[in-house]
């Protein structure tokens, strides 16, 4: 699906490559992770409580409804995390590593 967010300006920035759920996409340097994801797709995550997809809400770090994960299992708040080259983002929580 097309992106939910629409860029209206500041398009002349260098590009950043990342993966969202293992799909390679591009974003622009200076994007928040939220913008990087939502300019590519229509949703950010799934509600843990079974009521469907979410795409963030407040954009100011208050609602905690834009959590995504990296492949190391680290939780990232997408609205306040800047995208970086090579990020591998999962929109569902990665399974906890099993004890060695």
């Amino acid at each position: 699906m097309a992106g939910q967010f629409q860029r209206v300006d500041e398009r002349n920035r260098s590009t950043v490559r990342l993966e969202i759920d293992r799909v390679p996409v591009t974003a622009l340097a200076g994007d928040t992770l939220m913008v990087a994801i939502l300019t590519n797709t229509g949703q950010l995550r799934a509600s843990e409580f079974g009521d469907g997809a979410r795409a963030g809400f407040c954009l100011m770090g208050a609602c905690q409804d834009c959590w995504v994960w990296n492949e190391e299992g680290e939780r990232l708040r997408a609205c306040s995390t800047t995208v970086a080259e090579g990020m591998r983002i999962l929109t569902r929580e990665a399974p906890w590593p099993s004890p060695a």
Partner: protein, 490 residues
């Protein structure tokens, strides 16, 4: 009401030296036991209030710690775009560009003179110390004076479908544009009430976005009746009127006195349904919705600092009790800006400086009496304007009773209005904290920031009691979820 905070008993209390406090050259227990360095002055929030407070303290020769959760200064109102963006301040802040630029410039001059800590969350206040975390590093900052300038978030009344991808708070819609040069959708509708409704819609239209409609729950006559108080700040009032006119001139549909019905869609949004002032149902096709009904003060840190709260009938919110200068009921704890009372950025700059003056007076470094008198005088029209705003764009509390039972209230845990009503009636919770224990509304990771006010209205309506009898959701640390913390050192 507050006692002078010159000598805090907490200064030599055990428990001040929390994990993570040790810094190079400073033994962890050194501060509390030897007194070689007394607890500092801490300011939370680098928005208009926090920056002006920190600047005034620096003027007095102090070196406050300034904690900011974001990566850059300016707060939400004067939020800065990333360094590699190029739009000029006029494009970002419009009529407020000069104020934004002045605040940013003053901050640049200030930051080397204070202990500035961006990207740092103040997550608890206990034992006369602020607990912070940056990345996985925790720290305890003992204080002898603390100025909390925590700001505000949108006041949200749920509507069926408000958790669908594409629905954002009005403040969030503005941040997308201001800080990221993005629109929340190609064809948004803006719904709610308050000056931000028209400002954001106008900013989107000006950026070339096809705004579909601007829907205000406030009847036009209500706004008119508040004109006298709004005229306390004529230039601000005029500017607001100009936004409305500009939207009208662009042919954008404007409606007042509306009732939200539902956001329609599955996965993404296709339309917003609402009733016009005559009660007829309307449907606006759109792919995004910006939603908000004014602002609510972010008071959780004041709560954790054990400040006394009182119900404020103007805001319909419980707010920390403050004296005219920003002193709370707890000695050495001050509040300023929208986090104390929503009066906007201009008032926040004044109140930040005034709170710092109060702190200085209590620390035994009294500022000139004329300075305090001037700040108090400058704030007076702001208070009248605030009453005008709350009366002219009221929080639509009446909508709470009419929300269908299946409407999600708590978006953290997908808990519905019906479940909250059951806690209020069948389970007979006498106030909102018990209802929270029964239903979990307000217990999720937003800690009630999104659902708290609406939840209280739904609760009060279900029990048939006035809102002030619904009580106040108590704050709990951490105010926001913490990252996995590495075990702090010994």
């Amino acid at each position: 009401m507050a006692e002078p905070g010159m000598s805090q008993p907490g200064m030599s209390q055990p428990g001040m030296s929390q994990p993570g406090m040790s810094q190079p050259g400073m033994s962890q227990t050194g501060m509390s036991q030897t007194g070689m360095s007394q607890p500092g002055i801490v300011v939370i929030g680098a928005g208009p209030a926090g920056i002006r407070a920190a600047a005034r303290l620096a003027e007095a020769g102090l070196c406050p710690v300034l904690i900011e959760e974001g990566e850059r200064d300016g707060g939400q109102i004067y939020r800065r775009q990333p360094p590699n963006f190029s739009r000029p301040p006029e494009a970002l802040y419009g009529a407020e560009a000069a104020k934004a630029t002045a605040l940013h410039r003053d901050f640049e001059a200030l930051r080397e003179r204070i202990d500035y800590r961006p990207g740092t969350l103040a997550w608890a206040i206990r034992d006369q110390a602020v607990l912070t975390v940056r990345g996985a590093r925790t720290e305890s900052l003992p204080f002898r004076a603390l100025i909390i300038a925590a700001g505000a978030t949108d006041r949200i009344m749920p509507v069926p479908g408000w958790t669908l991808p594409g629905v954002y708070s009005l403040g969030g819609a503005q941040i997308a544009l201001k800080a990221q040069a993005c629109a929340i959708g190609a064809r948004p509708v803006f719904m709610g009430t308050g000056p931000l409704l028209y400002l954001v819609a106008w900013q989107y239209a000006k950026a070339g976005v096809a705004v579909q409609a601007v829907l205000d729950t406030t009847p036009f006559a209500t706004r008119l009746a508040a004109l006298r108080d709004l005229a306390a700040r004529p230039s601000v009032l005029l500017r607001g009127m100009r936004y409305v006119l500009a939207l009208r001139r662009r042919g954008i549909r404007l409606a007042t006195g509306i009732t939200p019905v539902a956001v329609e869609g599955e996965g993404g949004i296709v339309a917003l349904r609402w009733r016009d002032k005559a009660g007829a149902e309307q449907r606006s096709e759109c792919d995004a919705v910006g939603l908000g009904y004014g602002l609510r003060s972010e008071t959780q840190l004041a709560d954790l600092a054990k400040c006394r709260f009182a119900y404020d009938p103007v805001a319909r919110q419980w707010l920390p009790e403050l004296d005219e200068d920003g002193r709370s009921s707890v000695a050495g704890v001050y509040l300023a800006g929208d986090g104390a009372m929503v009066r906007g950025a201009d008032a926040a700059e004044l109140a930040g400086r005034l709170a710092a003056c109060a702190a200085l007076a209590d620390l035994g470094q009294p500022p000139p009496a004329t300075e305090i008198a001037d700040l108090r005088r400058a704030l007076r029209p702001m208070n009248r304007f605030r009453r005008g705003l709350e009366a002219g764009f009221p929080w639509p509390a009446q909508l709470a009773a009419g929300l269908p039972d299946e409407t999600i209230v708590c978006r953290c845990e997908a808990i519905t209005a019906g479940e909250l009503r059951r806690a209020a009636t069948d389970l007979d919770a006498p106030e909102v904290n018990r209802a929270k224990a029964f239903s979990r509304v307000g217990m999720g990771r937003c800690q009630g920031r999104m659902c708290g006010l609406a939840g209280a209205e739904i609760f009060a309506a279900a029990r048939g009691v006035p809102i002030e009898e619904a009580g106040r959701l108590r704050g709990a640390a951490p105010v926001k979820p913490l990252p996995m913390i590495e075990e702090p050192g010994p």
